[in-house]
């Protein structure tokens, strides 16, 4: 636990020192929200969810890419691969929550959103963060180059934006849960939307984290040609 904490701490410090990036991480969902604010109420909130998801997954992608060169030598220093990916994931969840809180406050205080269920918005934002962080890490693990990874994120977010949410294809998109819960929060629908969104969000969070674990463990495995006579 101590090792995991050190990794999370250092990852968080590294990200918090990128002031320009932090501003942009906040500005991206904010821009999505403001642009749609004069339209239908629900659209601005759904756009905010998508912007938040995009921002956090991009942060995760770049964070993982930055750590790629250092992680093998940290393995040699005594860390196991789960310390490294779980520590990074924990830091991203803290960062994502830190970005989501002022955005949630904005929605709660915005007179144009006075009829929305704030609890539902908070839950959707939480799921945006918990899905986006491992999703960005997964893209980084599958596509090691940052530019290609960024383009993959762009494709996914673009598809998420245009796909019919009622269609079967929408359910395989990572950020569908926030749309469902958003509908519950904005349109005051029954709890079916909330339940579906919650199950989808939790399932995607767990599945993405598991895939990240498998890929990270494989990349940082002890190679088969190494024969250790005593403890490392």
């Amino acid at each position: 636990m101590r090792k995991l904490g050190v990794v999370a701490d250092m990852t968080l410090r590294e990200m918090l020192r990128r002031r320009g990036v932090l501003i942009l991480l906040l500005a991206l969902p904010l821009a999505f929200y403001v642009v749609r604010r004069n339209g239908y109420t629900g659209e601005s909130i759904r756009a905010l969810f998508l912007g938040l998801s995009w921002a956090i997954s991009t942060a995760a992608l770049f964070s993982a890419s930055a750590g790629r060169a250092v992680e093998p030598r940290l393995r040699l220093s005594g860390y196991r691969s789960h310390h490294l990916y779980l520590g990074r994931l924990a830091a991203l969840l803290v960062l994502g929550t830190g970005i989501a809180v002022p955005l949630l406050a904005l929605v709660a205080l915005d007179p144009a959103q006075d009829k929305v269920r704030t609890g539902g918005v908070a839950l959707a934002m939480l799921l945006c963060v918990t899905v986006a962080a491992p999703f960005g890490l997964l893209v980084a693990a599958l596509v090691p180059r940052e530019l290609e990874g960024t383009l993959v994120l762009l494709v996914v977010v673009g598809m998420q934006m245009v796909v019919d949410p009622a269609g079967a294809g929408a359910k395989v998109m990572p950020f569908w849960s926030s749309r469902e819960i958003g509908t519950y929060a904005v349109d005051h629908t029954g709890s079916g939307y909330l339940d579906r969104g919650l199950v989808h969000g939790v399932a995607f969070t767990l599945a993405l984290a598991l895939l990240v674990a498998v890929l990270s463990s494989y990349r940082l495995r002890t190679r088969s040609h190494m024969r250790f006579a005593s403890g490392r």
Binding site: K3, P72, H225, M226, R232
Partner: protein, 277 residues
């Protein structure tokens, strides 16, 4: 402080930096002081620059002393056998062997692109060979040629990160890192981020990180890139300190002037692949 005092102080520092033992260095400084006093000559006229004179003295007494102090090799720490690596159908490494014992320094030399870094990364377990095995007794520390540090962390935070792998407290990691950095004539308590360090200082950080967790085997891939002359000498002093404390050290190098001070040389040049001791 007189001119003589300043020159003698510089001479003493340069001798120690070059690994001349304390007693011998003091003796050389005392002899030089006596000569300057008796002759009345200015030091630059009598001996030239302190660094140059220290180099001459070091070459004559320092190297012999280093050879004399070599401890007997200990148990095998690293054994690479039959390492083969191909890139795009080109053999980079074909059947390379290397054995390094505790208390030994091995140098890996060869032309650019002959596979020195690849061989070291295979020994560290960072990449897989196409054939061959690497047997290691103990833990490994690895210093890459470049990269390997985190741009937005301070040097002491790097020490905490590496020490954390050994479950060390943060203060212990910082203290050990600062002490190791001091041997390279570097004050690592700077609040500067790694990305703002000069290339040479960043390599010092890399080197300190590699040795911080007190590994049994140190794999150093040309770690002195960007070092000034003094730091380069400090680096070799550190290598010999590691050797004397029973570590096995492998250094990728093309600085042939240090090869008489290592125990084993692995030459990976294509036409001249050989191992000599």
């Amino acid at each position: 402080m007189t001119i003589n005092d300043g020159w003698l102080r510089d001479l003493g520092m340069e001798l120690r930096r070059r690994g001349v033992p304390g007693g011998t260095a003091d003796h050389v400084v005392a002899e030089a002081a006596t000569h300057l006093r008796d002759s009345g000559e200015p030091p630059m006229a009598a001996f030239g620059p302190a660094g140059a004179y220290a180099a001459v003295v070091s070459d004559s007494v320092g190297a012999a002393w280093r050879r004399a102090r070599r401890p007997a090799p200990g148990p095998m720490r690293l054994r690479a056998r039959g390492i083969v690596k191909r890139y795009r159908r080109r053999d980079v490494l074909s059947g390379v062997d290397l054995t390094v014992h505790a208390g030994e320094v091995a140098a890996v030399i060869g032309a650019n692109g002959c596979g020195k870094s690849t061989f070291l990364r295979i020994c560290a377990g960072l990449i897989s060979p196409d054939k061959g095995t690497v047997q290691v007794d103990g833990s490994i520390g690895y210093c890459p040629q470049d990269g390997g540090t985190i741009d937005f962390l301070r040097p002491e935070e790097h020490f905490v990160l590496v020490g954390g792998g050994r479950n060390w407290s943060r203060e212990r990691s910082r203290a050990k890192g600062r002490a190791a950095a001091a041997t390279l004539d570097w004050d690592a308590s700077t609040p500067m981020l790694s990305r703002h360090l000069s290339g040479g200082t960043r390599q010092k950080l890399n080197l300190v990180m590699a040795g911080l967790s007190e590994p049994d085997v140190l794999l150093l891939d040309e770690p002195y890139q960007g070092f000034d002359r003094g730091t380069y000498l400090d680096f070799w002093e550190q290598v010999w300190r590691w050797r004397d404390s029973g570590r096995a050290v492998v250094v990728v190098t093309h600085m042939l002037n240090q090869l008489d001070l290592v125990d084993t040389v692995l030459d990976l040049s294509g036409a001249n692949r050989e191992r000599w001791s």
